[in-house]
């Protein structure tokens, strides 16, 4: 999904104005006339930001925001509000809205905020790649290897591990080597970091 400014407002004049405004500043955008219409197109990998009118016919902007939050959306949201309602603004920001702008808004300022939101979104990391890598590698381990690994991470000596598992030290060494190989590390320290760095 390429990053665009998603506009949701039931006022056609505003939609057009925003569309034109964004285009003039080379920000790609697309507009929807209602929360419902936007939801129909929504998927969780939209990128960019969402410019959302607070007050709309049908589902309100706040309701849409809550719904998206429940669905795990992390798209930054900039609220547009027509009436200086501080409690509303505070509530929205506390719930994680990226920004809250009063209408009538200053064009340049709004675009700046939109761009800031889009940059924020762009800098947003995919779910920790490290964790994914670690998880994938963990799955390659056999059950027995996992048992050994636990004990390696507990800082135990091979001898102790062998004792606990009632196997020869040599066997532990073999497991150990295969664990390191599969996990792509070359020492127990690295292993510990790989696994505890992302908890």
């Amino acid at each position: 999904m390429s990053p665009i400014a998603h506009i949701v407002d039931d006022d056609e004049a505003i939609r057009d104005a925003l569309t034109w405004l964004f285009r003039s500043r080379h920000v790609d955008s697309r507009a929807w006339p209602s929360a419902e219409a936007f939801l129909a197109d929504w998927c969780d990998d939209l990128r960019g930001c969402l410019v959302l009118d607070v007050r709309m016919g049908g589902m309100s902007g706040l309701q849409l925001f809550d719904l998206l939050s429940e669905r795990g959306s992390r798209l930054p949201v900039i609220f547009l509000s027509g009436h200086g309602d501080i409690p509303l603004a505070v509530a929205a920001v506390k719930k994680g809205a990226f920004d809250f702008v009063e209408k009538p808004f200053n064009d340049n300022e709004l675009v700046d905020r939109v761009i800031r939101a889009m940059k924020f979104d762009a800098s947003r990391k995919e779910p920790d790649p490290n964790a994914a890598v670690a998880a994938a590698r963990l799955n390659q381990l056999t059950p027995r290897e996992r048992e050994v690994m636990e004990r390696i991470l507990a800082g135990k000596y091979n001898k102790v591990i062998a004792d606990e598992l009632n196997i020869a030290m040599r066997t532990v060494e073999v497991h150990r080597a295969r664990i390191f190989e599969k996990m792509g590390v070359k020492s127990a320290v690295e292993l510990a970091q790989l696994l505890s760095g992302n908890r």
Copy 2:
């Protein structure tokens, strides 16, 4: 520190009103007439919440808030603002203010918010005990030991470390032993876990 509502406002009438209001609702409070006065008494283990006027003579409420943030204060802050300024409210909340209330405020509502803030503060966990322990122990390390530790955590052999630091392997061994001793661990693996578990 027992939890109290800390009031900072340069308007004596407001201070008195709030003090009376809180007392009537069995919320302990104490008031200061300026940010500077509050700062003089501030320490990082104040508990409860801070009710803070945005606009004051001398240091403003926002400035005080920023300063406290820098100092690592985690006391929840409820801003009082006399003029419905949405950008200000949004900025404050985005920076981590707990709430933002317009003057004139509804007494009951304000107290409810204060109580909510104080409950939030009470439920706030002490800084991760592990992190505290690790940090405290880290401080016991000499600079040289820290250098060695970095390299141990990189999974390097004593020989390599000795080489990098241009010292004898034996010296590295000594440092290593002292690091383990001071950090209260008995292996590099434990060390890695202690330090990466809380990052």
